[in-house]
């Protein structure tokens, strides 16, 4: 393996102005650091907790129980002809991934301020590592989902092949918003206080507890402007075979998510120059 900066390259240091390049190649050169940061986040997350990694399962599972009781039983919310518990849990798994990823990434720069002020590395690595580390939690929660599918006797169709792509969509959404909020959080600590509220509000704007089929077209497609709506419905479609294929909605979600990711990354890079001075 060759060294990081083989061949004594010349680095020019000068004030940057305006919008600057993302320098993704540099990010790639620092992939080992990205790996170690992710690995650290995973290792440390459940240290000194009694229940350890089962927290990754408990959260979506308990929310599912609460939703099933209140929305499924009491309110009688429809669930696209699948049992309500698995209907909501299938949505809660990607949702929890999104929410924890957003939480961690938004606070990543502030929490690691000692790194930011003392070491150089592409700062984008910080929120990326945060979201990556939550993927492990996602995998654990997904195992429970598989168990539930077996219990309810739901066999997935070929549509399950799309799932990795839908997971990517959740990833991109979480990371894109994470880029925005982590960069804002450096200057405005307001983000920290806004975040729980924002996530809660977002949950209700996302068809987690209810099906998007409650909405007529074109409103349903418009709901896709919230990328998590597309994620949640696509998960249901791929795993549970809810027959209301939300194709146009997912397309809208994907576009919006990519837009957030790109704008977030550029905004992040633009603000990056002052991180070490302000954080």
């Amino acid at each position: 393996m060759s060294n990081i900066l083989e061949g004594a390259p010349t680095v020019r240091i000068e004030p940057s102005r305006g919008w600057i390049s993302l320098r993704l190649s540099e990010l790639w050169e620092y992939r080992e650091l990205l790996y170690f940061l992710t690995w650290r986040d995973i290792k440390v997350r459940y240290k000194q907790t009694a229940l350890g990694a089962s927290w990754a399962i408990i959260q979506p599972l308990l929310t599912m129980v609460v939703f099933s009781l209140f929305f499924g039983k009491l309110a009688g919310v429809p669930s696209d002809d699948v049992p309500y518990p698995i209907f909501s849990y299938t949505a809660l798994v990607p949702w929890t991934f999104f929410a924890s990823g957003l939480n961690l990434s938004s606070n990543s720069l502030v929490q690691n301020s000692s790194l930011v002020t003392k070491v150089y590395f592409p700062r984008l690595a910080m929120p990326i590592a945060s979201v990556l580390s939550v993927a492990v939690d996602f995998a654990l929660a997904f195992l429970v989902l598989v168990a539930m599918m077996i219990y309810y006797g739901i066999a997935p169709s070929w549509a399950i092949l799309w799932l990795p792509l839908f997971f990517l969509l959740a990833f991109v959404t979480s990371l894109g918003v994470g880029f925005w909020l982590s960069a804002l959080n450096v200057t405005y600590r307001d983000v920290r206080y806004t975040l729980p509220f924002l996530v809660q509000l977002w949950l209700f704007l996302t068809p987690v507890a209810y099906p998007s089929s409650l909405l007529e077209e074109p409103w349903r497609t418009l709901l896709g402007i919230n990328p998590m709506a597309g994620v949640v419905e696509s998960f249901r479609w791929a795993l549970l075979g809810t027959d209301t294929a939300p194709g146009s909605m997912i397309a809208v979600s994907a576009l919006v998510a990519l837009g957030i990711l790109a704008s977030g990354a550029f905004y992040f890079r633009r603000m990056e120059r002052s991180f070490a001075d302000v954080v």
């Binding site: 680095v11 004030p15 240290k47 930011v116 003392k118 120059r273 001075d277």
Partner: protein
């Protein structure tokens, strides 16, 4: 540009705005209130706009710094706190951007601005070595290859698999330094990191740094430890309030710097100092240092000076003895002045009396540099009543007794005396035994 240049710095300046934090919050609220959908660009424009720039004071942490460093050169950077040394290293390691000017760096850069950056208390020593190594820019293979070396240098073999939070702080520091010391960049930027661990480990760190410097790597070394600077560096920059005031010979730079840190404070109010010990039946409230000519805390070598302490007594004291210890900056006690060693005591004094005691010290035959004075007083035969544990700085500067070139050669000692010298010459006798070498002759 010449191929041999590793770092060129051209008119680098860095501006900081003071008291920005409050401003930020206000502007956020304003911008949100004014336009609910305000883009971040708007917020930013408001934030860094002319209005806030005009209303807030700014400081230049660095102003028009230019210099070049050749490959393999070991460059020291010295200056008082807040002179911009660390900011300069931060800019060169790309942590923060300059406000204006540019720099070019040719080669792989490793920077070590703080020992233990990124250490996580919950992770084990082993895990932290990998994490910290990666943070400092090492490849995994590189860390694996040098893992044992790192562990044994830090002397933590038995604890490699223990979480770092169970380490003593000394062990943590040693491990952190050890990881950093095994970096292999072509250009190394180091900020004051040698003051780690106990004395023997510090010596080891110093040895390691000397080794690194000797390997032909380019090193930029920021430090307050002048002996380390003079031992390691070929060339030294002196920064004063963000400006480059000297660039050149190591010892000349150190002399210049030691002279400049004279803070001109010859009356030191010690009444509120918490770093003191003793029975507390009285207190040294003020210490005054005066040169023979009533000058300040900087004295010429061999120049007599006075140490005056003002003592506020709470209880009565029948026989008061006093004195001071003088140490070098690294804590070696050089001088112990006490009245009872000359058979002297003072008093009796009643309670609540204020006693001013003046000790006239003849010229000290010490090498130039900064020394610390620790005054104390006691009741004869009893415990110390008050003992200042925070040293008062005095600077001894060369005043013609030595040429600075001579100082450079002779720095290894403590005491500097004015000897008289004689030399005789004669012709070598032809019948001398040819194998008798001069060195052997002198050792006999």
């Amino acid at each position: 540009m010449v191929n041999n240049t590793a770092i060129s710095v051209n008119k680098i300046s860095k501006r900081y705005r003071i008291g920005l934090q409050k401003q930020r919050y206000r502007t956020l609220r304003e911008s949100l209130a004014n336009s609910p959908g305000a883009s971040a660009r708007n917020i930013r424009t408001k934030l860094t706009g002319t209005r806030s720039a005009r209303s807030k004071p700014i400081i230049w942490a660095l102003k028009d710094i230019s210099f070049e460093v050749g490959h393999g050169e070991v460059l020291g950077i010295i200056g008082p706190n807040g002179s911009g040394k660390s900011t300069l290293l931060k800019i060169l390691s790309r942590i923060t951007e300059p406000t204006s000017g540019w720099a070019e760096i040719r080669g792989r850069v490793g920077s070590l601005l703080e020992v233990g950056t990124g250490f996580h208390p919950e992770l084990t020593g082993r895990e932290n070595i990998y994490l910290n190594g990666a943070i400092l820019g090492m490849r995994r293979l590189q860390i694996e290859r040098r893992f044992d070396e790192i562990v044994s240098f830090a002397e933590v073999e038995r604890f490699v698999d223990t979480p770092v939070k169970r380490f003593s702080s000394g062990m943590q520091m040693r491990l952190a330094f050890s990881v950093a010391a095994h970096l292999e960049p072509e250009i190394l930027l180091v900020d004051e990191v040698l003051a780690v661990g106990d004395l023997s480990f510090q010596r080891k760190c110093m040895g390691k740094m000397t080794e690194v410097a000797g390997e032909g790597r380019t090193v930029l070394f920021v430090s307050h430890a002048m002996p380390a600077v003079s031992q390691l560096c070929d060339r030294v920059l002196v920064l004063l309030s963000g400006r480059l005031t000297y660039d050149g010979d190591t010892n000349a730079a150190i002399n210049l710097y030691t002279r400049s840190i004279d803070d001109g404070q010859d009356v030191i109010d010690t009444s509120a100092s918490s770093q003191r010990s003793g029975t507390g039946e009285g207190k040294i409230v003020q210490v005054r240092l005066r040169g023979a000519d009533g000058g300040t805390v900087s004295f010429g070598i061999g120049e007599p000076f006075k140490v005056q302490m003002m003592i506020e007594l709470r209880d009565r004291i029948s026989q008061l003895v006093a004195g001071f210890e003088l140490t070098s900056l690294d804590g070696n006690r050089i001088l112990n002045v006490r009245s009872d060693s000359q058979g002297l005591s003072f008093g009796p004094y009643l309670n609540n009396q204020v006693v001013t005691l003046t000790i006239s010290v003849p010229g000290l035959p010490l090498y130039p540099g900064t020394y610390l004075i620790y005054p104390w007083f006691a009741s004869r035969g009893g415990k110390r009543v008050d003992n200042l544990e925070e040293g008062i700085k005095i600077n001894l500067v060369s005043q013609g007794l030595l040429e600075s070139e001579a100082l450079i050669q002779a720095r290894r000692g403590v005491i500097l005396i004015d000897c008289s010298w004689e030399a005789h010459e004669s012709t070598k006798r032809s019948d001398d035994h040819p194998t008798l070498s001069p060195s052997r002759a002198t050792s006999e």
